[in-house]
């Protein structure tokens, strides 16, 4: 026992030094001024556009139209009037659309994940005839671009008298998320050791019990990462909302309204900049606070292993 652990320590030590060596090698590479310069340029290009609009959103309208945002550093006037105007002003009224985005997003995340969990469990752990064929069919549906489904769906919703309600948006988002969700969750479920499931079965647990007591606790990280994905995708979506929700204040989410502002008030930067940040802030918070899960999901989804 002690021999093994010593060996492990030695191994870890060897590894550590290797890592250190590599870190040193990297440092050598990075000390090249051109490399550092390139990294800084990229970081700046990726940050400055957002920073510029962000600063603009807090500048008084008169300042915005008369000078560039970079002059703010020498003349730092700050106001929250733009935000007040864009959130509560009768012509923009983003607060209402903010609520819509929220109302659209929550069920559109919860519903497809639950459906996909059940389906993924069936594909992974319930043997039935034609299972592989059906799974491949579901998986293949990832090929279908949303565009190809929109017009017939809209026609159907109109026929049912449901167009322009939250229901069509919820339903569509839920369905569109399923192929990827089933595929990803199925992969995670497959990796759960079958001995765990067998043991539960011996104890007399049925599928429902196994699903809730064995699978779910182990799947929390996978569920979290997909939930973040779906959240960002639904919150940031424009196409589905535009098609099914229309532009009314009753249903349309922020993206639709902000895009509309860009069209009709394309030069009123005091409204546009604040509006853009009202739409950005929630995904930004979700992203920054749950970044770890998000990255994990990304890596599981695109490069296996």
């Amino acid at each position: 026992m002690s021999a093994v652990s010593t060996e492990a320590t030695i191994d870890r030590k060897a590894k550590l030094t290797r890592l250190e060596k590599r870190a040193i090698a990297t440092k050598g590479k990075l000390s090249s001024p051109w490399a550092s310069f390139a990294a800084i340029v990229i970081a700046a290009l990726w940050t400055i556009p957002t920073l510029g609009l962000f600063i603009t959103s807090f500048r008084p309208e008169a300042d915005i139209v008369s000078s560039g945002w970079w002059t703010w550093f020498s003349n730092p006037n700050v106001t929250t009037e733009n935000y007040d105007l864009v959130l509560n002003g009768s012509s923009t009224n983003l607060a209402t659309y903010f609520v819509n985005s929220f109302v659209i997003t929550i069920p559109s995340v919860l519903i497809p994940i639950s459906l996909a969990l059940l389906a993924a469990y069936a594909f992974a752990w319930i043997p039935f005839r034609g299972r592989n064929l059906l799974f491949v069919a579901v998986f293949a549906l990832q090929v279908v671009p949303l565009q190809i489904a929109l017009i017939p769906l809209l026609t159907t919703y109109v026929k049912w008298g449901l167009n322009g309600t939250f229901w069509t948006v919820w339903l569509s988002h839920s369905i569109f998320a399923l192929p990827l969700a089933i595929f990803l969750l199925h992969n995670f479920m497959k990796e759960i050791p079958s001995s765990l499931v067998e043991a539960a079965r011996v104890d007399g647990a049925g599928h429902v019990k196994i699903f809730f007591q064995v699978m779910m606790p182990l799947l929390v990280p996978a569920i979290a990462s997909f939930a973040i994905f779906q959240f960002l995708w639904v919150w940031n979506d424009l196409l589905v909302a535009l098609t099914f929700a229309g532009g009314t204040a009753n249903v349309a989410p922020l993206t639709v309204r902000v895009a509309e502002l860009a069209g009709t008030r394309g030069t009123e930067w005091h409204l546009l900049s604040a509006g853009a940040f009202v739409a950005i802030v929630v995904p930004l918070i979700v992203f920054l606070s749950l970044q770890r899960y998000f990255v994990r999901g990304l890596l599981a989804g695109s490069v296996k292993g």
């Binding site: 990229i42 560039g68 043997p127 069209g263």
Partner: protein
């Protein structure tokens, strides 16, 4: 039932949302309860109960509409008269659609390559540096911003103030867009970046590259970290360093990840329409297939043409997805 369909106030909307979720929970709960309580239910019955909601949804929301759209693409604008492959012929022969297809091709080639190249270079540069985490977040952040938000951010960068004739340079109105101000600082004329083709397409493409580079960087960075240490060590002993290490060790080692990243970004790029819509509204020869689909279907009310464009999109995406899946399978087998 109107109460359940329309909501006007915030309170009503929230109640409606809760009702929708509860409704869903109750139905699912009943299904699960039934499968659990009925003794000796055969496996196929449980499977059906678990699968039915998802499969029915997919059949209703993706399979059937896709077939319907394929059918519609052979009909005229109102969907009544069969016109054969007319829409497709128009799509490849008429000037306005040729521009659309050309732009789509440019997007799908430039965006994945540029985003991946930038993401890769950046991942290598910041790998194991002191500020790695922070540096990565900066580039990754645009991923969380909607394309509408990103478009507005970049429209502001490109913002143009007209030059007044016969007014001395010091009295010209200040440029408030960063790009034009830079031009002015260098003594050049400010430009209307989004108006003049063909360059304006590239200024739109910049936005998509800006959004996608973070994705490429994250995935490739993970792949770089997974390169076995002994390979790097051996290469270092052989005197490889800097660019040659990058060329002969890093890039070949992460090739599968590179392929996946490029194809994934290409798939996303083909379907992009928000950027075009928000930045130029598809004017000034900047339209792409996914946006033209929207314009034809919902603005021009030409269902036949819209459907044909959707099918073309479908045809363009399919090989990418198939290739991507193959690569994924391969790397899974090698694991």
């Amino acid at each position: 039932m109107d109460v359940l369909k329309y909501a006007d106030t915030t309170g009503e909307k929230l109640v409606l949302m809760v009702i929708a979720v509860l409704l869903f929970v109750v139905v699912m709960g009943l299904v699960l309860f039934a499968t659990d309580k009925i003794k000796r239910l055969p496996a196929w019955a449980v499977a059906t109960a678990f699968l039915a909601p998802a499969v029915l949804g997919l059949a209703f929301g993706l399979v059937w509409p896709a077939l319907e759209t394929i059918k519609k693409s052979f009909y005229d604008r109102s969907g009544n008269e069969f016109v054969g492959v007319d829409n497709y012929v128009k799509a490849v022969t008429q000037d306005e659609f040729q521009i659309v297809l050309r732009n789509t091709a440019v997007w799908v080639v430039v965006v994945p390559l540029a985003a991946t190249a930038i993401g890769l270079v950046y991942a290598v540069l910041v790998d194991r540096s002191r500020f790695e985490k922070f540096a990565k977040v900066l580039v990754f952040l645009p991923m969380s911003i909607s394309m509408v938000g990103a478009s507005i951010i970049w429209r502001f960068v490109y913002e143009y103030r007209p030059v007044l004739e016969g007014v001395p340079a010091e009295n010209q109105p200040a440029q408030i867009g960063l790009m034009n101000q830079m031009l002015v600082w260098f003594g050049l004329e400010p430009q209307q970046f989004l108006i003049s083709p063909p360059l304006n397409t590239f200024f739109l493409i910049v936005v998509m590259i800006w959004i996608q580079a973070g994705f490429a960087m994250t995935v490739l960075s993970a792949a770089i970290k997974a390169i076995p240490d002994d390979i790097v060590e051996a290469a270092t002993l052989d005197g490889l360093g800097g660019l040659r290490m990058f060329r002969y060790i890093t890039v070949p080692s992460i090739q599968p990840a590179l392929v996946v990243v490029i194809t994934t970004i290409a798939m996303g790029t083909l379907k992009v329409f928000d950027i075009v819509r928000t930045m130029t509204g598809g004017n000034f020869e900047t339209s792409v297939a996914a946006f033209e689909f929207y314009r034809q279907s919902f603005v021009q009310r030409n269902t036949g043409m819209g459907s044909a464009l959707a099918v073309i999109l479908f045809i363009l995406v399919t090989p990418l997805v198939v290739y991507n899946v193959r690569q994924m399978r391969k790397s899974e087998e090698n694991r």
